[in-house]
């Protein structure tokens, strides 16, 4: 029957559409015409079966990357991103760039930052005053049509097909609760200490440490600050932690963390602060243990000019060599 014309489509034309038919890429009308042809053409039905076999054969050469390759890719990417972050970013120039920076509250914004903050305030006020409130039962479907607000994060606990063709999904949702109380309230303090280690949000950790810094005289708070200084991935959080620890720079636990920063932190600002804190009052009664750290830095060929010079001066003032023996 090959080549014979059916009412609306030849065998050749029908077969030309088979691949698209199997991929579901034909329009309703095109699909109807092919199906109608197939109804009356056994040869084309056989040809369609062969096309299915060919498509199935394609699947046999699909590659799933090895888990070790994915792991390697992720590790290398993380390392390269860290390299990028330690490089100085090019300053954005021009008034518009500075203004948008100001709106984003980026550090480079300089004198325009107050203007940016005022603009955001004005936009917020005007939006709240004049934009109509959106209905939470709008026609967006999804979560809202089910009568609850879109959660920030949910976990699907169960997925179960029901008999009527619907799907039943059970979600574990994150719900917000508001706590309020003085900083010395044990519950508030415990929540703040937990938030200081929340891995998902560096902004939250910075805000939390900013509050906790006022209570750095408490051992539990100081432990949290030292932990952040030693382990937090975000330089902004570590800077906030070092700020709170400044008055306690003489304590062994803090000095040990500062020495670690000085020897291994990737952020130049943190290392500068660490050496200042470790060597303050160096001429009087600096503890001799710091000398070993400074000598190690000099031996490594310290690259950061300020840190190197400060090391050299302190070692000189202590009559210590720049080398170890």
């Amino acid at each position: 029957m090959s080549g014979k014309r059916h009412e609306a489509m030849s065998c050749e034309a029908a077969r030309g559409q088979f691949a698209m038919l199997l991929y579901g890429e034909l329009s309703f009308d095109e699909e109807e015409r092919v199906e109608s042809h197939l109804d009356g053409c056994a040869e084309c039905r056989a040809a369609l079966d062969r096309e299915r076999t060919i498509q199935a054969a394609f699947d046999s050469v699909e590659i799933d990357p090895a888990p070790s390759l994915l792991r390697e890719c992720r590790e290398d990417l993380r390392a390269r991103l860290m390299e990028q972050e330690t490089r100085p970013r090019r300053a954005r120039t021009g008034w518009w760039a500075q203004f948008t920076d100001a709106l984003m509250l980026r550090p480079a914004a300089g004198w325009l930052r107050p203007a940016g903050a005022l603009t955001l305030l004005a936009v917020g006020f005007i939006s709240a005053r004049f934009v109509p409130v959106l209905s939470s039962t709008g026609a967006r479907g999804g979560y809202q049509s089910m009568g609850f607000a879109e959660p920030a994060a949910s976990r699907v606990r169960y997925v179960e097909p029901a008999s009527n063709g619907r799907i039943q999904i059970v979600l574990d949702e994150t719900r917000q609760r508001v706590f309020s109380g003085p900083l010395d309230d044990p519950q508030i303090r415990a929540l703040l200490l937990a938030a200081a280690k929340d891995p998902s949000d560096p902004g939250l950790r910075v805000e939390t440490l900013d509050i906790l810094n006022t209570r750095a005289q408490s051992a539990d708070v100081r432990d949290a600050l030292v932990f952040a200084l030693r382990h937090d991935q975000n330089a902004g959080v570590r800077l906030k932690a070092i700020e709170g620890l400044k008055p306690f720079a003489r304590e062994p636990q803090v000095r040990s963390a500062l020495a670690q920063v000085l020897l291994s932190d990737s952020n130049p600002g943190l290392r500068t602060q660490a050496i200042d804190l470790l060597t303050q009052g160096a001429n009087e009664n600096v503890d001799r243990q710091i000398i070993g750290t400074l000598q190690e830095l000099m031996q490594r060929g310290e690259q950061q000019g300020y840190v190197r010079e400060r090391c050299r001066r302190v070692l000189e003032s202590l009559n210590a060599s720049a080398e170890t023996y």
């Binding site: 691949a19 060919i54 699909e62 799933d64 390759l69 994915l70 992720r74 290398d76 991103l81 949000d201």
Partner: protein, 197 residues
């Protein structure tokens, strides 16, 4: 909303956080898509080294340019534009310089480097065992003979399961042009496999 290992993630919030310098959000965003990016690169380039390079370059470009992402299209489309451009560059360079073949001549006879790579969707996949090594070898050869664009459209439609409209958006062309490309690719494959299936 993106679905990742049973966890619904608010992608817009993640992107905005990453745009504001949140490293953890950026990492989470990478993890939503990186497996499919690596699979795409691996299947197109059939070389772990090249797939690794594409992965690195793609996500570094995302990192550097995320601040320019304005939600004019989905993040998936934006990311795949980057990845497909990188893969097309690799494939075009390979066509020009007839890069190192995957099959090497050894003292023990020809050795396909890709034989060491996990193939098929899962171990014990009956689909994989249904077809002889000869058929699979021929399919690999034909895939290598397609033009880079045909190969790309075929990959995105057949293996990644994307609709032609989305493929057109990713490749900066029309749905119709993507359809023509897929049509040519499947026709070539059908002809080349004529004696095998």
């Amino acid at each position: 909303m993106a679905l990742k290992s049973g966890v619904l993630i608010d992608e817009t919030a993640l992107i905005r956080a990453a745009q504001n310098g949140d490293d953890a959000a950026f990492e989470q965003l990478v993890r939503v898509y990186d497996q499919s990016v690596l699979r795409l690169a691996m299947n197109l380039l059939r070389s772990p080294e090249d797939a690794h390079d594409v992965y690195q370059e793609a996500f570094l470009r995302v990192f550097r340019n995320l601040h320019t992402f304005r939600f004019d299209c989905s993040f998936h489309t934006w990311l795949y534009r980057i990845v497909t451009n990188l893969c097309l560059d690799h494939m075009r360079k390979r066509k020009v310089r007839k890069e190192e073949p995957t099959v090497l001549a050894t003292a023990d006879g020809p050795l396909d480097r890709m034989d060491a790579v996990q193939e098929g969707r899962v171990d014990g996949d009956p689909q994989r065992h249904l077809f002889s090594g000869q058929v699979r070898k021929r399919i690999k050869e034909v895939l290598g003979e397609l033009t880079p664009r045909e190969r790309m459209v075929f990959e995105l439609r057949h293996y990644q399961g994307l609709r032609l409209r989305r493929i057109g958006e990713i490749l900066g062309t029309t749905e119709e042009a993507a359809k023509n490309c897929l049509f040519r690719a499947t026709q070539k494959m059908r002809i080349a496999l004529g004696d095998f299936i």
